[in-house]
Symmetry: C2
Amino acid sequence: MSRPTADFSSQLSPALIVRQASPPNLETPFYALDGRLTPQPSHYVRSHFPVPPLDAQTWRLEVGGGAASPLSLSLQELRAMPSHTLSATMECAGNGRVYLSPRMPGVQWDLGAVGTAEWTGVRLRDVLERAGIQEGALEVVLEGADSGTLTDPGRTPGDIRYARSVPLDKARDDVLLAYAMNGQPLTPDHGFPLRAVVPGWYGMAAVKWLSRLYVTETPYQGFFQTVDYSFWQQQHGLSPQMVPITTMQVKAQIARPAPHGSVTAGHVSEVMGAAWTGEGDVTRVEVSTDGGETWTDAEFLDPAEPYIWRRWHLAWHTPQQPGRVTLMARATDSAGRTQESGHDAVRGGYMINFPLPITVYLKGGES
Amino acid sequence: MSRPTADFSSQLSPALIVRQASPPNLETPFYALDGRLTPQPSHYVRSHFPVPPLDAQTWRLEVGGGAASPLSLSLQELRAMPSHTLSATMECAGNGRVYLSPRMPGVQWDLGAVGTAEWTGVRLRDVLERAGIQEGALEVVLEGADSGTLTDPGRTPGDIRYARSVPLDKARDDVLLAYAMNGQPLTPDHGFPLRAVVPGWYGMAAVKWLSRLYVTETPYQGFFQTVDYSFWQQQHGLSPQMVPITTMQVKAQIARPAPHGSVTAGHVSEVMGAAWTGEGDVTRVEVSTDGGETWTDAEFLDPAEPYIWRRWHLAWHTPQQPGRVTLMARATDSAGRTQESGHDAVRGGYMINFPLPITVYLKGGES
């Protein structure tokens, strides 16, 4: 796998589509999907508040809460702990939002708020063990150094920091506190000096600029898992309850042909993309070249491996007749989940995993 | 205490100010405060959805959940259980919203979304005991038969019923399932055949048209304690968390002189009102007749008794000079809480307990 060199001098890489310049919300041009890992300069960036200027010498990770002994770790101390490396696909919970109608509030992501990187850092469980987790611990709040003021005509939480929680079981399982991405130190946009990586979960859990871990005895109810990044889930036949968004839905995306691109009529063209899921493995990808009427199995280019997408492709015998075609892809995972044909309104602008219709133009060949 | 006769034929009693005709949102003219109990036809009504047409013969209260044995009780069966009576002051969490600037969304209540009634029914703890609460029970969800569809540009929970939860400790302490109000059966507007009464809590917990009790092992996250009827609370130095509104804040209200009413200059006029709190007793009421510059202790007309307001009054020697005066009242309770001078923005349109400025006109006497 290629190990790209991080470019600290160019935070707004020209390889990214700017959805918002400040704070940086930058999208991968998904049609350029190449290796299984996304180079750091091409990996999408999602920010809620301005990038905090952190200094590796003075920055510390504070650990505390009702069910943990206080701890304060420097970057040097973290780097001295056993290091672990894992590759993970990370998708923004709002990826694909431009395909929703009516338009939903939030950053209007196309296909590129998703990427796969190799992360290196310390296991959250090792830090928690060092802090000494006590009886009654339920969740770990991951708090970033990024902050801002939110306003709302009704009520406002005021000045807040970005924060999300993970249940203790997940925290002890596979959550990584990463200081390197694809073998290079994190760039400021990606959370320097430390970010969380929560395998299988949408990107909102991968808190950047980590500054504090807080062990709670009750479910954390911060802004970014109540007002934002939550949805309505029916349970026990009761009316829906507000539930934080967590694991990624199963999803396949077409990289090539690119949306609104063209292919030659009456030829063989490659349909190529990637597919991922939050739990288990993607076991099947199907492609439709007639707007969802019929489906053909695609072939995987990668083996099934934990946490990361599988690239796939299909040889497509394009119709003789020039015109407009709608391509779609859908994945199924080892848990038997597949992609529903429509978007469930309770998800709002999040967890968009219906098979996205990709418009492609068939152009006459030069035969 | 007076026992008014409920008037089933007049649900929109002329004694009430209509804030919304359908569903009924009706306000007491607070200036008419008389006895310690509010007559049923004058008691405020707060509805979120249309009044459900329930039949005393077919209606049942279902009890269930992960930590309770299923139970189904008819009104007759409930009436056959030991009955208890308690008087309680109930205030809508949005009472006084017209005094907020900028204007907050929601029903624009003046002073009259508060009342005191004598409730008769069965104790929630007796019903829970009959159902058999099991290990791990945390909360009891109180669900009404009233329902509707909520829409939101972002996301929507869809068709929901009105529901709120109370912690198991509170449920076992003093929550009443009431079938009578001031000695009369509940009217449809007040929740016939059964409503919850949660002493010390704002009215949103007093679920009307009760149809189901559901014992949960995790905190209930329904619409009416997350999106609605919640606020932002700072805890452990973390960013604010979304917390359901529960207990009433300490508060005194002036009933007379009525807002924008007039009194005679250079005479003795009575300032009269009521004061309540969610925990403990109101121990002091002070009145300012100069817009909050100076304060004078008022005299209580009622003894301190659990759950209910204390009426109070003060002889006011009105100034000789005709003009406009701002009256204010503020209460202190046995927990040492008093009324802050301004409204905290994190409360949004709820828990409005700053001393409300009441404008009164001094008119020249006919001496």
